[in-house]
């Protein structure tokens, strides 16, 4: 909002608290995933408050329900900014919800910290992306498959933007690397009828399956997959949306040995992760697991706090100006904000699902990967690039 | 057999029948007459239990049955043939009969007896009742009621839409059954000739109130006419 005064900020930090928003779906289909993110945000806020807060101020959370609906996300984001006058908002999961909120944050010149891996090709001044972009998740996963000798791939995904973009990238990658894409299928979000798709996968004789299905569909897909007799040895499935949370519902007997690509697993051995996992379990129960989006959400609060400390202000412009290079010793390793595109550096990891329902790193990138949301560093991706 | 005391009933919150007193003795046939909309059907519906009683009471064999659901009253010996040739449209004619014969010891024989009474129904047993002609449905309805071997038969314009020669049959059947003993009849009928022939007593309803009662002997025609005319 350059021309108008509509974006006059009402953030008030004169007292000894600073308000932030937590905007996640607590109802509707996405509440499954987003409540876990909410838990991680609260954990981080509690820890920071216990350690003295940000610039000496206690963080106060204003919570809102996105209700799994993009319009509600937009409405609630506007409410948090204009009525509650929060300094920043943490939340969102689906790209649809992010796309709905983006103009709200831009028009009102406020900040969103978005914690989920996504399809890239976006960089807003008003959003900090703490999940992976495609070159920190999809491309490493492809590299791994190519390394293990996969020559043909079958693509299965839910019908929305992330899988579609991911598959566009995979197709470009495959064309460049001589990998054959033998099939590409999309199922409605929430669909549980996978007989046809699995029959086709089975008949295709592909070396591996790249799976971008989301949510409950994974349960039906993997059951069908196992039931027609396909196994991880014959035809491994590389998934990018199945984390520790989902494995239980799918049933370990259906998915043991399959692969996933993320930046974080609960099993990562590092002091930061041990602290995180212990704190999380102490807060929410020993039976709970931690996962990549939770970790990214946890990180996002710390990154915001660190940036505010560095800027010495909660002002949006100051935070934007100070963000570059801010880092955090996170459970997945050191993450650093790229001031240019507002993404963070991340370490890519391929995980294997084992009998205990957890994912174990079987491969990891040499150090953290710089974020490249527009895939400018990849020649084969030239056709995918967009003008910003 | 049946005694109505100060019975008031109607639809929703509007009473249609007001404070009716009426009695049907054992083996007696009582005809209720009255203009269209006088409340005859409403009265009968209350007696069988299809609409609630607002005040007053309905006694069957000296016992108040006000609060019993219709099906219990039927099991206690009432049978009802509603106005308008009603049947279970989606069941076959045969199933309509078997439905009420189910669970009765001599169900088959009972059905047969009715088919002898209404031979026109025999070839129609396999046809869906909803497809029958109006008169065929009415015959079916009467047959269905008789199968339950009622002690009190409640008929709402039973001859409406029935061909003359069958009307005569029905008439003689009713007189016959009542004459044999064990059956009382409460009959609503517009057809004066039929009503006075079949019944031993009559009551005329006007605007939901009993306007006149009496025996069906000589002069009854005039008294009914007079009660209805005003």
């Amino acid at each position: 909002g350059e021309e108008t005064a509509a974006a006059e900020s009402c953030v008030d930090t004169s007292g000894d608290t600073v308000k932030v928003g937590a905007l996640n779906s607590l109802s509707g289909t996405m509440s499954i995933s987003e409540t876990t993110v909410r838990d991680a945000i609260y954990l981080a806020v509690d820890e920071i408050n216990a350690a003295g807060g940000v610039q000496g101020k206690q963080i106060e959370i204003v919570a809102e329900d996105g209700a799994s609906e993009p319009t509600v996300f937009a409405e609630k984001a506007e409410k948090l900014i204009r009525e509650d006058c929060v300094a920043a908002v943490f939340g969102g999961w689906t790209s649809a919800s992010r796309k709905a909120m983006l103009p709200v944050f831009e028009d009102n010149d406020s900040l969103l910290y978005y914690p989920v891996q996504y399809e890239g090709l976006e960089a807003s001044e008003n959003i900090f992306y703490t999940g992976a972009t495609t070159n920190q998740q999809i491309i490493p996963a492809l590299d791994y498959l190519a390394e293990t000798g996969v020559k043909s791939l079958y693509l299965v995904g839910s019908d929305y933007v992330f899988p579609r973009t991911a598959n566009a990238i995979i197709n470009a990658y495959a064309a460049d690397k001589g990998i054959e894409i033998v099939g590409e299928d999309y199922a409605q979000l929430g669909s549980v009828e996978f007989s046809t798709i699995v029959n086709q996968v089975s008949a295709s004789g592909a070396d591996a399956v790249f799976n971008t299905l989301n949510g409950d569909s994974n349960v039906a897909f993997f059951r069908e997959y196992a039931n027609v007799g396909l196994t991880a040895e014959q035809m491994p499935v590389m998934s990018v949306s199945i984390a520790e949370e989902e494995v239980g519902g799918i049933g370990i007997e259906n998915i043991e040995g399959q692969l996933a690509a993320w930046n974080y697993y609960q099993t990562i051995e590092s002091p930061a992760n041990t602290t995180f996992v212990d704190a999380f379990k102490a807060e929410y129960g020993a039976d709970r697991v931690t996962s990549d989006p939770m970790e990214a959400a946890y990180n996002s609060v710390y990154l915001w706090a660190a940036t505010a400390e560095k800027a010495g202000s909660f002002d949006v412009a100051d935070i934007q100006a100070s963000a570059d290079g801010v880092s955090f010793e996170s459970p997945e390793g050191t993450v650093v904000i790229d001031g240019e595109n507002h993404h963070v550096t991340k370490t890519a990891r391929i995980g294997e699902i084992r009998a205990d329902g957890l994912l174990y790193t079987v491969w990891e990138s040499a150090g953290a990967i710089e974020p490249d949301p527009f895939l400018e560093g990849y020649e084969w991706a030239a056709d995918l690039q967009v003008s910003e | 057999m049946l005694r109505l005391r100060n019975l008031t009933c109607g639809y929703g919150r509007t009473p249609v029948v007001h404070g009716v007193d009426l009695e049907v003795g054992a083996d007696e046939v009582v005809a209720v007459m009255g203009h269209n909309g006088a409340g005859k059907t409403t009265l009968l519906r209350a007696v069988v239990g299809l609409i609630p009683v607002m005040s007053g009471s309905i006694e069957l064999d000296g016992e108040a049955v006000n609060r019993r659901p219709a099906n219990k009253r039927v099991k206690a010996g009432m049978a009802y043939v509603p106005q308008g040739q009603q049947c279970f449209a989606h069941l076959t004619a045969g199933e309509n009969l078997r439905l009420v014969a189910d669970g009765r010891k001599s169900g088959k024989a009972l059905i047969d007896a009715q088919l002898d009474l209404f031979p026109a129904l025999r070839p129609l047993l396999g046809r869906q009742a909803g497809l029958l002609s109006g008169g065929q449905r009415q015959q079916l309805a009467i047959a269905r009621a008789l199968i339950t071997e009622p002690r009190l038969l409640i008929l709402d314009e039973p001859t409406e839409g029935i061909q003359p020669n069958v009307v005569a049959e029905i008439e003689s059947t009713i007189v016959d059954l009542a004459g044999r003993g064990g059956l009382s009849v409460l009959l609503v009928e517009q057809h004066l000739g039929f009503a006075l022939q079949a019944a031993s007593r009559f009551a005329v309803l006007r605007s939901g109130r009993v306007a006149s009662t009496g025996g069906t002997g000589a002069g009854a025609v005039e008294r009914v006419r007079e009660a209805m005319a005003i």
Binding site: N199, A220, V228, G229, G251 | V48, R98, L131
Partner: protein, 294 residues
């Protein structure tokens, strides 16, 4: 070729799943005219019954066999409560039952979320139903064969009961004319409650069976609901025969269409086919006519 055989079987299997989900509806909706939008949540309750049973019993095979009847009772009991509290007051207002039961569905979903948590839980498939059998060169999952068999059994039992037993006649009588049934000595309250119990119980059974192939989460059930209603509509209200044919036809159409197009378009295709089909047979495949004007 293999694929085609596979797809034909898939159609049959999808059809049997639809049928299982729709069978209860063809009683409560088709027979009684109640548009029970909470039917999906009764299916969901069946799923959680299977889950809880498995937690208690342990052995997946034994628990499946126990869960089937228990699921019937759980679904049926929920149906009874719903019928007693709400539906019985609404028999004259079928469209209103749709909205009321939609509200019930919302509440039940939230209850499931609060009790079992939002993420899906896992119901383990028994050893004897794992893997597939080879049919004409394609691997057909045993779970699907099991569901197919279950659907056949359930449909046969329901159809025979409705057609040939006194109870069936009573159900059809009450459905046709409640007042008249009362005066024929039938307790319409009892029949209504009984019919709703069975219809809802069948949803519970469907739920238990569906844990073999799908997920068990608060929103499971929803995904089957609209398709199940379409099956009943296309088959003709209250016609079991129609429901069977419609379920298999829609399942096969979807499976074959999906092979040459996408799963999403197949869903749209199903809708278009039904609208076109209703042009030819507005009251569904098999209908009972009457001469009344109502």
């Amino acid at each position: 070729m293999d694929l085609l055989v596979g797809q034909l079987f898939t159609g049959l299997s999808t059809g049997s799943i639809l049928l299982l989900a729709a069978l209860g509806l063809s009683l409560t909706f088709g027979q009684m005219g109640v548009i029970n939008m909470a039917h999906g949540e009764f299916i969901m309750a069946g799923c959680y019954t299977a889950y809880v049973t498995q937690q208690v019993v342990g052995d997946a095979g034994v628990s499946l066999l126990i869960a089937l009847p228990v699921g019937f009772l759980v679904g049926g009991a929920m149906g009874l409560v719903l019928e007693w509290l709400l539906v019985r007051h609404l028999y004259q207002r079928p469209l209103d039952t749709l909205l009321v039961t939609f509200g019930v569905g919302l509440v039940l979903q939230q209850v499931a979320r609060d009790v079992f948590g939002a993420p899906a839980v896992n119901v383990t498939v028994p050893e004897f139903l794992r893997g597939g059998v080879d049919l004409l060169g394609t691997a057909v999952p045993k779970t699907r064969l099991f569901i197919l068999a279950l659907a056949v059994v359930a449909v046969t039992v329901v159809a025979l009961v409705l057609r040939f037993t006194a109870a069936g006649r009573r159900i059809r009588a009450v459905v046709g004319n409640r007042d008249l049934a009362e005066t024929a000595g039938i307790s319409s309250r009892a029949v209504d409650a009984g019919t709703f119990f069975i219809g809802s119980g069948l949803a519970g059974v469907a739920g238990v069976a569906l844990t073999l192939i799908g997920s068990t989460s608060p929103t499971t059930g929803q995904s089957y609901l609209v398709d199940a209603f379409l099956v009943v509509v296309a088959g003709g209200m209250g016609r079991i025969k129609g429901a069977v044919v419609a379920a298999v036809a829609l399942g096969t159409f979807q499976a074959v269409f999906e092979t040459y197009s996408t799963a999403s378009l197949a869903k749209v295709g199903v809708f278009v086919v039904i609208v076109v089909f209703l042009q030819l047979r507005p009251q569904g495949l098999f209908t009972l006519r009457t001469r009344s004007l109502a």
